[in-house]
Symmetry: none
Subunit: 231 residues, 2 copies
């Protein structure tokens, strides 16, 4: 499970620290900026999943920050502001903000609103699935579904077989060293565990076999490791 990254743009040190601490505690990955310009830069460079924005910044108008970011990104922006006037809220929301919280706010409420924003962005990512499918010759892997197919037929793979297949597929064309594969799949660094790997390579090859005797999709590089070749 990938960690959610949140960018906090806030000039008040104490508020920023409070928010950072709370977010970190909830297992979010936090990056911070103390003014608008660096906030926009961080948004550009890091592509955070959510942005928390204080409107009262020293160097530029918060509204300006929103519009700038909205020119290229749909990332959820939650505004935190000391101003409670309706007009301010409307301005921020219409500039492209997703939500508006008036200070002082309850941290728990902020957390709940972050979860709501997060939920929506997850759905959006589902709508635009980023290459969640892999195809090579007669092999197809549907990463989202967690399934692999050979000629439209579902392959019955064990967990390690599936992991191994994905690892080779993601790095198609590259030669992966034995140690790298072992570390990725077993997590361990014990050098002498290549016995199991050999067995799994065998069983994968067997399951990937097609009737016509094509050469195996998985090639051995003696003394080094294995490689999935492009067909």
């Amino acid at each position: 499970m990938k960690q959610i990254q949140i960018l906090t743009i806030e000039d008040d040190n104490s508020v920023r620290n409070l928010i950072s601490a709370t977010l970190s505690m909830h297992e979010y990955n936090v990056i911070t900026a103390a003014n608008g310009a660096s906030g926009i830069m961080l948004a550009t460079s890091h592509h955070p999943d959510i942005i928390l924005l204080d409107l009262g910044l020293p160097d530029m108008d918060g509204i300006e920050v929103i519009s700038r970011i909205r020119t290229w990104s749909q990332v959820p922006i939650i505004v935190l502001s000391a101003r409670s006037e309706t007009a301010d809220k409307i301005e921020a929301l219409d500039a492209g903000a997703d939500d508006y919280l008036t200070k002082p706010f309850s941290v728990e409420e902020l957390m709940a609103r972050i979860r709501a924003a997060q939920r929506r962005s997850v759905i959006l990512k589902k709508v635009y699935p980023e290459n969640s499918e892999f195809v090579n010759g007669k092999l197809r892997i549907d990463y989202a579904a967690g399934l692999a197919y050979l000629n439209q037929n579902e392959l019955k793979l064990t967990p390690i077989e599936y992991k191994l297949l994905c690892l080779l597929a993601v790095n198609i064309g590259k030669v992966l060293t034995r140690n790298y594969i072992i570390k990725e799949i077993w997590g361990s660094v014990s050098e002498n565990d290549s016995g199991s790997l050999r067995v799994f390579i065998t069983s994968l090859r067997k399951k990937l076999e097609t009737d016509d005797n094509e050469p195996s999709m998985i090639q051995t590089h003696v003394g080094i490791g294995y490689q999935m070749i492009r067909l």
Copy 2:
């Protein structure tokens, strides 16, 4: 430009009329419901673009309305409530609400929040052919009513069984990991709670069993999780 349709679920006549009038004036297409049950029905039949929901309904808990709708639809839900406690807000947001406004609120702010929600929903609406009914083989789920049928016969499911069935159905074809299922249903992250899940899978399978001995609709992926297969 197609007109945006907004469903207002609110039992107080005067508030409802005020909102309806304002929305109509802003060229929204408005449909209204005075209680939760008819609200869910309208959501089912009309697929509105946005839902405004009062939590204080006469017939059922507003939270219940949110979760029911969320079993099949991602439509933006903006909660309007007289209760300003943080706990209430969190409950509603975590149940699936997108925004929470405390009464009395400024109509202009509501309008701005509607525009924000609308901006987000435009994308979703295109891609998600949201259906409040699910059919797979002899199984039929009526999400709006919260009922499941096997060969026209109502299945008597416990709350967790129903949730589990919906989760598998919504993700039909995908392999769901044990941890994902546990997090979705129990909310917890305690890794060791797969015992209950095993029991519920058993009882679901038993209830989904048809006389002709078809293979189970729910497949096990050893070491990973479960999958509902398309029939």
